[in-house]
């Protein structure tokens, strides 16, 4: 019996200064196979479908269970996590490209550190007094926890930023992931002491008003964060903050 195979087309680029080329691979199919398995198979035998030796593919991956957020890439045109992209659910040839909105490093690896810089800018943390023993934290009722927990599930994969038409160099838009964290920390009984600062950070250029409500973010989020509701909520808070700041002069 002939072995069942899977066809891949992968966009390669040796460095930011090199030209991009597409390479085709034909790999042995196995049950439950995902896109990261294909990358591992290529690393073990780096030969293209035309029999040409090539190099293993550079890509980010870590947990392989869609919780670390590393392996975001464009697969058949859609931004998604390579580990949870099962080959059997994808049309072939499976076309794999790097995310397009972030500086390319090599092959499928891009630099997404802008998200972590954005999280600094909005002070995405709880300003605790210190780590010494100060007893129990504030009471949080289950209803509140059930709002916050989904927001805290963001894995920083940046898929929401990749698919956002407003996330461009020209707008400098922070993107949905950062706005979700603003909502999370503003909701927290202690976190809310920095609420005004966070809202002001979202009030200027590149802030929340850049959002054009294309709603691509909520569609593509692998962790199903309620991103559009969140943006509406935080938009209102930013507006209220602007009015308050205006009246205070």
């Amino acid at each position: 019996m002939a072995t069942k195979t899977v066809q891949f087309e992968i966009k390669r680029q040796a460095s930011p200064d090199d030209p991009a080329v597409w390479e085709r691979f034909e790999l042995e199919w196995r049950p439950g196979m995902n896109v990261t398995t294909a990358m591992m198979d290529i690393a073990a035998s780096p030969v293209t479908a035309d029999g040409k030796p090539t190099t293993p593919i550079t890509y980010d991956s870590c947990c392989l269970e869609e919780i670390c957020g590393s392996c975001a890439m464009r697969i058949n045109g859609r931004a998604r996590m390579a580990c949870s992209s099962l080959v059997d659910n994808l049309e072939q040839p499976i076309r794999v490209e790097p995310l397009s909105k972030f500086p390319l490093v090599r092959d499928l690896q891009v630099d997404r550190s802008v998200l972590f810089e954005n999280l600094k800018a909005v002070k995405a943390w709880i300003p605790i007094d210190g780590t010494y023993d100060l007893g129990a934290g504030p009471r949080v009722y289950p209803q509140q926890q059930e709002i916050n927990y989904p927001l805290s599930n963001c894995i920083s994969c940046t898929c929401c930023m990749e698919v956002c038409p407003q996330f461009t160099e020209a707008t400098g838009f922070v993107g949905a992931a950062t706005i979700a964290q603003v909502r999370l920390f503003n909701n927290h009984p202690t976190g809310k002491v920095l609420k005004e600062e966070r809202l002001r950070a979202l009030a200027g250029d590149g802030g929340i008003q850049e959002c054009g409500f294309a709603q691509n973010c909520v569609e593509v989020c692998p962790k199903k964060l309620p991103l559009t509701n969140t943006i509406s909520d935080v938009s209102r808070d930013v507006l209220v903050q602007k009015v308050k700041d205006f009246l205070r002069g």
């Binding site: 995902n34 398995t37 073990a44 293993p56 550079t58 869609e66 092959d107 926890q145």
Partner: protein, 590 residues
Amino acid sequence: MAAPRIIVVGGGLAGLSAVIKIAEAGGSVDLFSIVPVKRSHSVCAQGGINAAKNLKGEGDTPWQHFDDTIYGGDFLANQTPVKLMCEAGPGIIDLLDRMGVPFNRTPEGLLDFRRFGGTLYNRTAFAGATTGQQLLYALDEQVRRFESEGKVKKYEGWEFLSAVIDSKGVARGITALDLRTMELRGFAAGAVILATGGIGAIFGKSTNSVVCTGSAQSAIYQQGVYYANGELIQVHPTAIPGEDKLRLMSESARGEGGRVWVPRAPGDKRPGKEIPEAERFYFLEEWYPKYGNLVPRDIATRAIHKVVYENHLGIDGQPMVYLDLTHIDRSTLDRKLGGILDIYEKFVGDDPHEVPMKIFPGMHYTMGGIWVDFNQMTNIPGIYAIGECDYQYHGANRLGANSLLSCIYAGFICGPHALEYTKSLPAVDGDGGQAAELARQAELNAKLLKNEGRENSFWLWRELGDTMTKHATVIRYNKGLKQADEKIVELLERYKNVSLDDRSQWANTSFVFTRQLKNMLMLARVIVQGAILRDESRGAHYKPDFPERDDERFLKTTKASYTESGPRYEWEEVDTQYIKPRRRSYDAAN
């Protein structure tokens, strides 16, 4: 004069905990990590974190937690640090709560707790079934705060290669590789804290992340640090078998009432849901009526092996058993286990609300690790180890939900101690040996880049994983272990003929992996030889030829040190000053 900088390698729970304590106390930290720290393997922890808060009116106490942990670890852990950790547990939970971890709550707004394996108390605080992710984010956020205040400098995308050790044998920094530019660089420091996690990659497929290679641990072992209890490896009873990895299915599934079973009839072809109750064999509940599905992991794993390989009752003749949640109502499952049920559905394609999950044991955790003293310092002054890469807290078997606690606790005690240590550290002579160490590393890199031969590192790695999984996991025989050691020696020999498919000097992942592979092979020998020498059964280490625990000969910590000809072993007494070792058994009689 300001104290010298401190280097922390690894940004999981342990590393970040140390960073926070040092920064808070006024120290300066350089934090190195292969991945952005928010993507560290700690995110994979699912079920929860243990602390005897006693919020369920059960009379739970830190002492009871201590006793469960020591007993669960079959008395191999030193008792003093475990006792201190259990006492610190409730305060650590409070702190995490103050940091904003979205723990599940009771109707009154208090922390909710659930059951986990190896205890009869509801002692495990949890945030859905993504507790590790939530804890790591909370610590990551605090570190980001210190970073924005200039107290922490992150080196994300850097790989630790070695420690820099001066002529007096004192650590003075590290060498590291920029994974993008491939630049090799030395970094000076007064102390070096390794928080580099587990070693799953040595077993090929495991529940670990791909970065968990044990390469850093092996590197400093080869520089003179002791590696302790290497043979103690935890195989988690419930993982989802996969092509690229074994995905964890949390113990919390059983903590919330999940039941493990197989069809009573061998080779029963019916789908699980159609098999009537009377024709199901709930073997853990039958064999261990008191703890049932919540026996410790080593016990559950061996029971699954027995039912599959001795009783031949695996589902449809395959090495798999059912983990069944379908009797629990949907909203409870979503509220308490949502994250892991999504994972199962995404990767397997079945909805675990509707059909029982199919699972099998998978290599999961490294109880052994770098030898440290009670302040987490190794035998090389100035080098510390914390988290899964140390050996300190779990003896011969780790209880579920104790790892997150041990990571944070070890980081919290290590950070301040390292800072004190650096304050009284004599000034460095010259460059402290940095230039010499850089030259050694540069030579290793150059040699590998131009090495010619017919071996491929990924194939060598697969062979290593297969032999380790076959001989050094659930059931161990000296004969098989010796075969494994011979195999590793063969692989080390073949490694000399490894040639890279990529010789470029930009984001070259195969170069990095091939360097790690050498270290994996060196550490694999420590594991199998340690297992050969421990002729007894204790916790996760099980030899059918030596089925009993032998306290007289082996109530001892195994300490391996590196020599050119292979690991050399010595043994150290275990601190048992609080709880007298007693027979460990989870069946009905106890």
